[in-house]
């Protein structure tokens, strides 16, 4: 992948919490307009990797570049400039309880005073329509919505500012299989419409197979395999095989405490 066609580049990223090493020299490339899904078991560092890219956590060492702009150690202005390119769908939706749905969707635009409240309401309604929700939903509060609807609203919020990159943190966790598939379809449709690059983390293989162009597997803080989604079943990597087939036996040992 050439430098110009790469949207996000991670090189040798390390992150530890005390003596616990979570990211241990992680390398990853995400191309422009590409949908990359990072898979891996619980606690292997998927969310930490995402948080380091988003600036929610500071990487200890290594390089994270977005459009060739360094994120690690960057100042507030650079961080804000980079964050404007991002949209993020959180695992639990992370909608603001105190605000109505339309204000949740357009929160970023309103906070930066890019639009008036009237304009924001219109944009909110349009973005809700994009994820298949009616204008009436915009007047409700998040607590009045089902889990699936909350995910849709969160998706609408993620695309409200027409981001260049959308991050998806476990987009289908906690949803029934049908709603999970609806969300997968929406992710594909939305990223195509917005023309965004997508970086997702999940351990839902059905979701990964559906939304990914490329899949990367993270284990012990490193990417141990990456390739096109079609190659995942013939990766030749024992860790990948064990994970995608959901086998207890294999090189990945789960820490189980009695």
């Amino acid at each position: 992948m050439t430098e110009n066609s790469t949207k996000i580049t991670l090189r040798g990223v390390h992150k530890s919490f005390g003596s616990k090493v979570v990211l241990n020299g992680l390398d990853l490339d995400v191309g422009v307009g590409e949908s990359v899904v990072v898979i891996g078991g619980s606690g292997v560092g998927k969310s930490v990797m995402l948080k380091c890219i988003l600036g929610l956590l500071d990487a200890d060492t290594g390089s994270i570049r977005v459009d060739n702009e360094e994120v690690v150690g960057s100042g507030t202005k650079t961080r804000e400039h980079i964050n404007r390119k991002f949209g993020m769908l959180f695992q639990g939706a992370a909608l603001f309880d105190s605000l109505p749905v339309w204000e949740n969707v357009t929160f970023g635009l309103l906070a930066e005073k890019r639009v008036t409240r009237d304009e924001a309401r219109e944009i909110g309604t349009a973005k809700l329509a994009q994820v298949g929700l009616s204008a009436e939903v915009g007047e409700l509060h998040p607590a009045e919505l089902s889990g699936g609807m909350q995910k849709r609203v969160a998706l609408a919020r993620a695309i409200a500012a027409d981001p260049e990159v959308i991050f998806f943190d476990e987009p289908t966790t906690g949803l029934d299989p049908i709603m999970a598939d609806v969300i997968n379809d929406l992710i594909i449709k939305i990223t195509r419409e917005v023309g965004a690059t997508a970086l997702s983390i999940t351990h839902d293989m059905a979701s990964a197979r559906k939304i990914a162009h490329r899949i990367a597997m993270i284990y012990e803080g490193k990417i141990i395999w990456a390739g096109p989604v079609g190659d995942i079943d013939t990766s030749g990597n024992a860790h990948v095989d064990q994970f995608i087939n959901g086998r207890a036996e294999g090189p990945i040992k789960m820490a189980v405490r009695a």
């Binding site: 600036g55 929610l56 992370a94 906070a111």
Partner: protein, 257 residues
């Protein structure tokens, strides 16, 4: 070695917490003064603190004033100083009971709710969501609450002063048989501007302490419902202790000869 280990761990944890708290306070204050500002959030918090705390603070002040008049009467009657009741009530309420009782009541009501709200936002990733939407959580969540606490507590205490003195008046007139105009005259003659001002300054400091503790413990809560519960408890307990501690310090500053 085994004995020293926990001591060392405690000392390190203490300094880490103290440092984290000092940085949080500094950031909170600096964000109150630097744009962008969120006037809607400030207004919402002012209504929450100032308006919705009125009933609880008003009732507390009313009964405090009534009890004070009754207690003073029965106590002072032992050395024939019943006539000093008006002075005792107004001084005690404006200097001490008004700000302290209002502070403690608001700490229970507002400090707890702030810690629970921000704590829930923290554990449900809403605080992270703010950051990804290019909104500084310190500026959006903490600064408006600090400003509201700082400005609304004096307003509440001023009302508590009036209601507390009125409570004492009710008992003195209708139960103890004092002459109304004499009682009011003594109250007014004995009151000095410094008595009220010192109470209002205390109120501002207490308002800052309450909101700071609520925000700090909520912001640093971890681990789901249990963490939020602990944050709520810690916010109320630490605010209450600091209110009493700063009450002494401020009294020293204002009134020590």
């Amino acid at each position: 070695m085994n004995v020293l280990q926990p001591i060392g761990r405690f000392v390190l944890a203490f300094f880490a917490t103290a440092g984290r708290f000092a940085i949080f306070t500094g950031h909170g204050i600096s964000h109150c003064a630097r744009p962008p500002f969120y006037p809607r959030m400030v207004l919402r918090q002012m209504v929450e603190i100032g308006y919705f705390s009125l009933p609880v603070v008003g009732l507390t002040a009313l009964f405090a004033g009534m009890v004070l008049a009754l207690q003073s009467y029965t106590g002072f009657a032992r050395f024939s100083a019943e006539s000093a009741i008006a002075n005792v009530v107004v001084l005690s309420i404006t200097r001490e009971l008004g700000p302290v009782l209002a502070g403690l009541m608001v700490a229970g009501r507002i400090g707890a709710s702030m810690a629970a709200e921000i704590g829930t936002m923290r554990v449900t990733e809403q605080v992270d969501a703010l950051t990804t939407l290019n909104t500084n959580p310190m500026k959006y969540l903490v600064a408006p609450r600090l400003i509201a606490g700082l400005t609304m507590l004096p307003f509440l205490v001023l009302l508590a002063d009036v209601i507390g003195v009125f409570g004492g008046y009710l008992v003195a007139i209708y139960k103890l048989g004092f002459n109304p105009s004499n009682y009011l005259q003594r109250t007014w003659d004995f009151l000095e501007a410094q008595d009220v001002i010192s109470g209002l300054v205390k109120a501002s400091v207490f308002g800052f302490i309450i909101t700071l503790m609520g925000c700090y413990h909520g912001y640093h809560s971890r681990g789901g419902a249990q963490g939020v519960g602990a944050a709520t408890t810690n916010a109320v307990v630490s605010a209450s202790i600091l209110i009493l501690c700063f009450d002494y310090i401020l009294t020293e500053i204002f009134f020590a000869q």
